[in-house]
């Protein structure tokens, strides 16, 4: 019989620092940004600002109400952190049960979030100009990267795609950072692939060190195609998938990726949510 001695201190690994935790937060701001999106600012005890990297996410425990009883936590990209150490911001679209319940939270109430989770974006120290391509609420994921780039003095081109000018939220993305913004809309047809394609091709050709995208599979796949002549450009995409644990444990959030000509499943919560764009495979939503 193999009876592990549970009290042998020599057997124990040094307990790892606990990087991920459930944080009880106070809602310090919560308001509509427009008809579809809401801004949420939370205050935690812990120093989430320095623990969180651009592109990472938290799992939010949306409140239970009489009408809405979400069971799982909901993954949300960090839209911003600071200035205080415990401050973390989210920007979200009201969709189903969980986000509708979330929208009922009043300032002053409290809620729990688990994180920080996942791998964020990589901004090379040497980068001088980068391109961001965001659609819809995908901009929330991008905002910390905008800030990081601006702080590092990296020039920013931004392509923002939205249903209509009212949905575009360029100010919410940039938060006063300098950038060249190209906004395209469904409402005037400018967001159609054949009209975006030449614009993107030009931006890539104009000497860009990296491209980051989030919020549109259509745009991501277009970008991946347009990047073929530019192997030197770093290209990353932030993806979504239905999640349970958010920590790489349950294997619910997998998607196929192409690596060296072979397809393999990766966990969006763990290997992602940011992946090399060139490894992305289209057509998998879960």
């Amino acid at each position: 019989m193999n009876c592990t001695d549970i009290d042998d201190p020599h057997a124990a690994r040094a307990a790892a620092p606990l990087r991920v935790a459930s944080h009880r937060c106070r809602v310090t701001a919560h308001q509509a940004v427009n008809a579809r999106y809401r801004y949420l600012r939370l205050q935690a005890e812990a120093d989430l600002a320095s623990a969180t990297r651009p592109g990472q996410f938290y799992q939010l425990r949306c409140p239970q109400t009489s009408a809405l009883q979400p069971f799982l936590l909901r993954p949300m990209s960090v839209y911003g952190t600071g200035p205080e150490a415990g401050t973390v911001e989210f920007l979200y679209a009201v969709a189903g049960t969980g986000t509708q319940a979330l929208a009922t939270l009043a300032e002053g109430q409290s809620m729990e979030i688990v994180g920080p989770l996942g791998q964020g974006f990589t901004l090379d120290a040497a980068a001088r100009r980068v391109l961001l391509v965001a659609r819809g609420v995908g901009l929330a994921t991008m905002a910390p990267l905008v800030r990081q780039a601006a702080q590092a003095g990296v020039a920013l081109d931004v392509l923002l795609s939205a249903r209509s000018p009212a949905d575009a939220m360029a100010d919410e993305l940039l938060r006063a950072a300098p950038a060249t913004v190209h906004a395209v809309f469904d409402s005037d047809g400018s967001s159609a692939v054949d009209r975006v394609e030449p614009l993107l091709a030009e931006l890539l050709a104009a000497g860009c060190d990296a491209v980051y995208t989030c919020g549109s599979e259509r745009l991501a796949l277009l970008l991946r195609r347009l990047l073929q002549p530019h192997p030197q450009i770093r290209a990353e995409v932030a993806l979504e998938q239905r999640m349970a644990c958010g920590m790489g444990v349950c294997l619910s959030c997998v998607r196929p990726f192409e690596q060296e000509g072979r397809v393999a499943l990766q966990r969006v919560c763990r290997e992602g949510p940011v992946f090399p764009l060139r490894e992305m495979v289209g057509g998998w939503h879960g």
Binding site: M1, N2, C3, T4, I6, D7, D8, P9, A11, A12, R13, A15, A16, L18, R19, V20, A21, S22, R61, Q69, P70, F71, L72, L73, E112, V114, Q241, R242, M243, A244, C245, G246, M247, G248, V249, C250, L251, S252, C253, V254, R255, L265, R270, W284, H285, G286
Partner: protein, 316 residues
């Protein structure tokens, strides 16, 4: 502080709280001191390589979760080489969970897995996500006996049989596992369920059906834990919907010697630590010196119920 230690056969655990297979991996060391748990139960491994089921693999329902992960596995060699080494070394017994398609496969695999660093083997003879509408070894006493007996012959390690709540008569199946030489039964796995999106008219899981876990499952697995504990002399490990120390105590009172926590960790990766802390609080509040005293301590009938039964015949 109360003594939380328990014994599962020859295996001593510092406390009765351990993760449920598939709801735990070494990644939780980022959220939890793995040295503070009773045991570490790893996600089931299968001898054959499996990709797992199509997404979506999870869907929430009221009070619970449906999953159809489908036990992705890179096989035994990859498991022993790439997965297993991360688990020993926390000072906590490591339990390997094994699933397989045939009795022979089970027996052969158990031999491969009986190696240093492995404290016990949990035979997942009950996973309802596989082929054939969820049929599994643990659906019948006969096939349970066959599988466990073959594994028993193949390993000197403690062997736990993980049963399924889909079975009609779990007591008989627990007895079969005991007779075949299991050192403990785990009661139990998920219950096969389904949910349909009324707009798309498609199942809400990519696989069509999947296993129900979480609080919605608890009344049924708790009852089955009670029934198993009455049926066998080997320890019963309770599992299903445990999210708090009170839930864990319910299982202990019903007859469990230890408990496994699954879905609750997804809602709070620190859930198991909270449960261990809560067991200390409960024992302190109730004057319980050793948590092991709680096992099977439910009092099934109170005075009022006895009076009722004594008098009711006259009332009809």
């Amino acid at each position: 502080m109360a003594d939380l230690s328990v014994r599962i056969g020859s295996l001593a655990l510092r406390n009765p709280v351990m993760p449920a297979s598939g709801c735990f991996a070494v990644e939780y060391q980022e959220a939890l001191d793995l040295g503070a748990l009773g045991a570490l139960v790893i996600k089931s491994v299968t001898p054959k390589t499996r990709v797992g089921n199509p997404t979506p693999r999870v869907a929430e329902v009221q009070g619970g979760l449906l999953n159809s992960i489908g036990i992705p596995s890179k096989g035994l060699d990859a498991f022993v080489r790439d997965v297993l080494p991360a688990y020993p070394g926390f000072g906590t017994p490591v339990v390997v969970s094994l699933s397989a398609d045939t009795v022979a496969e089970f027996a052969a695999a158990v031999q491969v897995l009986s190696r240093p660093g492995v404290a016990a083997i949990e035979a997942n003879i009950s996973c309802p996500n596989l082929e054939a509408d969820g049929l599994a070894f643990a659906m019948q006493a006969r096939s349970t006996h066959d599988a466990i007996a073959a594994m028993r012959r193949a390993t000197p390690l403690p062997l736990w049989a993980k049963l399924t709540p889909n079975a009609g008569d779990v007591a008989a199946i627990a007895r079969a596992a005991e007779a075949a030489g299991a050192d403990a039964v785990v009661m139990g796995n998920t219950a096969l369920g389904m949910a349909i999106d009324v707009h798309t008219r498609r199942p809400r899981l990519g696989n069509g059906m999947g296993g129900l876990s979480g609080p919605a499952l608890k009344p049924v697995t708790l009852r089955m834990t009670y029934q198993c504990a009455r049926a066998v002399r080997i320890p019963v490990i309770g599992c299903g919907g445990i999210a708090s120390a009170e839930d864990a105590v319910e299982y202990l009172l019903a007859g469990a010697t230890a408990v496994q926590v699954g879905t609750a960790s997804f809602l709070d990766p620190g859930a198991m630590r909270r449960i261990v802390d809560g067991l200390h609080d409960y024992c302190a509040a109730q004057g319980v010196a050793r948590v092991a005293e709680l096992t099977g301590a439910v009092e099934m009938e109170g005075e009022e119920q006895r009076n009722w039964r004594a008098q009711a015949a006259a009332w009809a």
